[in-house]
Amino acid sequence: MSKNNEKISSARILQIINTVIRHKLFIPIAFLVSLLLLNVFINPGFLRITLGKDSAGNPVLIGNLINILSNATELVILAIGMTLVTASSKGQDISVGAAVAIVGGVIMRVLCGNETQPSTLHAPVLLALLLGCLAGMACGAFNGMLVSRFQIQPMVATLILFTAGRSIASMAMGGLKPKAASAFGCYGNFIPGFPVPTPILITIAMIAMTCVILKKTNLGLYTKAVGINDKAASLNGLHPKRIKFLTFIIMGFCVGIAGFVQASRVQTVNPYTIVPSIEMDVILAVALGGNSLGGGKFSIKGSIIGAYTIQTLTSMLTTLNVNTNAVPVFKAVIILILVAIQTPMVSSLFHNKSSRVLISGRKERG
């Protein structure tokens, strides 16, 4: 009797394991966790976070995790926007890197005017942020108009800004490479006296804002409906074009915030090298999160996890002292494995195995 009970409970455990494995965020989370464990294995002190002091004597948190969380900020924020764009328009915005450069350029111009190394800020930072966001949203509006109004494929439409963006950024700064006063640095680094890096706080704020918007509006439902079947969506009273346009505007806002943080990190912007090929990392984050790049259903949680996974990978390769030139190769190999795991072929293999275990568990019970 008791043996029988044991079998039942083991079958139930198997069932729970099965549901966990089948959860759509299982693979993204499992991969992030195993990557972190690998880091701990390589460097036992990986998870350690200490309270240190920076050169000015202010308390700051120091540790690998803190670095990853802080450095992933741009990626996470852009991944949120990219997820929505992907879901609604069934394509990706490849101009985000160039758009970040434009935002950076605008912010620098606002803060520095025509000087190269002003000792004070020429305008309030809030104004710079506002204009930066507007610049980002203008980029989004441009892309969104091409995609929704003229029905150009997203990747082709955004190729235009991808090509021109960094030059536009350079022009926005009047061809100069100004460095803003160090007071501007606190948004990309630390607010004096507060030990948590500001980018982490900004990330948290952005994620919270996204949660609220998804909860308090129908953005999620509308985006999914339009992405899955825009004809049916329009017969249900939706305006697919407007919704696609809206997601590009949101993407633009995300670009604005990301550009602001990036510009503040070193208080200067080199439009040609700022966030190099970040668009690919962002798209990858969306894919790693288990989202279909063909649009439709989406999970922003997944994309955020994907973004942190990529950042962890990048920083791991850096700490391993992998030759800078060789980093992309390692990254590519690991990404290949990750993407392969998530293909329907491999996952059906996975599921068959786990359901077979379940069936054999049931048979034993019977």
Binding site: K215, K216, T217, N218, L219, L221, Y222, K224, A225, I228, N229, K231, A232, A233, S234, L235, N236, G237, L238, H239, G296, K297
Partner: protein
């Protein structure tokens, strides 16, 4: 005794939450037309998909040509090699390719393709089957009926021992159906075994030799057509007597409707779809219908009222108020609902859950900033799942995994939830089983008796006669007549379609 070309034994297949097939046997002889019958969700399509390798069966064996060893069919291509061709209910060709490309794609192992030769070949095939399409025409530019016929032509043209026709007639008009039947008889004479899946009882009795009935994924039995009267077949499919169907009758017909208020008044309305200006009035509590051949403009009329096509001319009054309907949302806000003709293309949001599909229209009316809470949405969904008897494991199931009839019920629920004053049902019963059809017809009459004005469009004239109290007859995008009262008979409709004049005659 004729040779067995196909033998399926003890087939099992389950999906998460659903046992689609349980211990199903099926046998097909050569030169036999074998009907596979059952209600929606009975497992017909699943059995076909298992046979053609679209799904992997959980258990069971498939034998071909009286062989001793079972074959394992893992893909449609393999099924093809075994001589099994299929034409599915939904068009499964490539709309962006030409007709000839669709006929020949994937059928050659050669490296180079001689398209010129193929086009000529295609022309011969199309001509011999009387299909009105050109080889170089892009498939998407053909009507659904022609696309379906191209799909059949493709299947027929391949060397096949077993031809599966899954609801091939659901989008064909009567003439096209007859043409298809000729073709099937021709193939039967050539010893092809045909599996015919359909909901049309008349077609089964006109054509088939044997019937296999499935219910809830289980085998009910295999019968010779002469041993199984229609009424018994229906009883076996539903597990109950048909009687219901005959009892449906529109009582509203006798009531004086002229006194009640007009919900919809369209004057010389025309739209970008090319529909000729038409007048139409719908009264409270009345069931109206648009009848006509496929492509006569039935759908285009109602789409103009709903704002699904751009209205170019004319005036529309809803409940006495002149309105400009420039998009569906405006019509919805005025209390108009529209269940679209093509369920797969214009109706369902495939990957979304049943719950999201049900609440969608009301949610959109409610506005962007007022989402329902999860509990509210769940309550709506559960209410209508129960009300319409939607067969599903939960409201979280994606709608695409439901059977056709249940999908249709979900879309119906979506519009009922908006509590419209005027509901347009465009082919709500296409491709769904007789039980659900009866349910939907009854529901239409019930809603009308509660004061809703309904427009019901169907390719089956009997169905329209049962439900509608007034029919607008259409031909070639013109309204050619309007029938009420004693004029509502099949003969009168045929006569009007054939001989009515190109104007809004008999406006009374």
């Amino acid at each position: 005794m004729q040779k067995k070309v196909l033998k399926m034994r003890g087939i099992y297949k389950s999906f998460p939450g659903v046992k689609a097939l349980q211990n199903v046997d099926f046998t097909l002889h050569e030169g036999e037309i074998h009907a596979l019958m059952g209600e929606n969700g009975a497992g017909k399509s699943t059995l076909i998909k298992v046979l053609t390798g679209v799904y992997t069966k959980d258990a069971g064996e498939v034998y071909i040509d009286e062989a001793d060893r079972p074959v394992h069919i893992k893909s449609p291509q393999e099924a093809q090699k075994h001589g099994i061709s299929t034409v599915y209910q939904e068009i499964t060709l490539c709309p962006n390719l030409t007709v000839a490309e669709n006929l020949f794609i994937g059928r050659t192992d050669e490296l180079f393709v001689n398209w010129k030769k193929n086009n000529q070949l295609a022309e011969t095939i199309l001509k011999s089957l009387g299909i009105p399409a050109k080889p170089a025409q892009q498939l998407s530019s053909c009507s659904i009926a022609v696309q379906q016929m191209v799909a059949i032509a493709r299947a027929v043209d391949m060397e096949c021992k077993v031809l599966i026709l899954d609801e091939p007639t659901s989008s064909l008009d009567d003439q096209e159906v007859l043409k298809l039947f000729d073709l099937m008889r021709e193939l039967k004479a050539r010893n092809v075994g045909i599996i015919f899946v359909t909901h049309f009882l008349e077609q089964v009795y006109a054509l088939c030799d044997k019937i296999t009935v499935l219910r809830n994924g289980e085998l009910v039995g295999e019968y010779l057509i002469k041993d199984l009267p229609k009424i018994e077949l229906v009883a076996k499919m539903m597990g109950k007597e048909l009687g219901d169907l005959a009892n449906i009758h529109n009582n509203a017909r006798e009531e004086a409707l002229s006194k009640s208020e007009a919900v919809i008044e369209a004057t010389a309305l025309s739209s970008s779809s090319g529909i000729r200006p038409f007048d139409f009035t719908a009264y409270k509590g009345e069931v109206t219908g648009f009848a006509g051949l496929l492509g006569s403009g039935r759908s285009e009329c109602v789409r103009a009222i709903f704002g699904a096509d751009r209205v170019t001319k004319g005036r529309l009054k809803i409940k006495g108020e002149t309105v400009a309907i420039s998009s569906p949302i405006k019509a919805m806000r005025k209390g108009v609902g529209y269940l679209s003709e093509d369920r797969k293309r214009d109706g369902i949001i495939g990957d979304l859950s049943i719950r999201d599909n049900i609440i969608l229209a009301l949610q959109v009316m409610n506005g962007f900033f007022k989402p329902f809470t999860k509990a509210q949405a769940q309550a709506f969904a559960e209410e209508y799942i129960r009300l319409l008897g939607i067969k599903t494991a939960s409201a979280d199931t994606p709608i695409s995994s439901l059977s056709g009839g249940n999908q249709q019920k979900v879309i119906l629920a979506r519009w009922l939830l908006t509590h419209p004053d005027y509901l347009i049902l465009d082919e709500p019963t296409r491709g769904i089983d007789i039980g659900t059809k009866v349910e939907i017809q009854k529901l239409v009459l019930k809603l009308a008796s509660e004061g809703m004005s309904i427009t019901f469009i169907s390719s089956e004239i009997e169905e329209m006669l049962r439900t509608c109290s007034r029919l607008i007859i259409m031909r070639d995008l013109y309204v050619v007549g309007e029938l009420t009262g004693d004029d509502l008979s099949q003969d009168r409709i045929m006569y009007t379609i054939a001989g009515g004049e190109n104007q809004n005659v008999k406006k009374q």
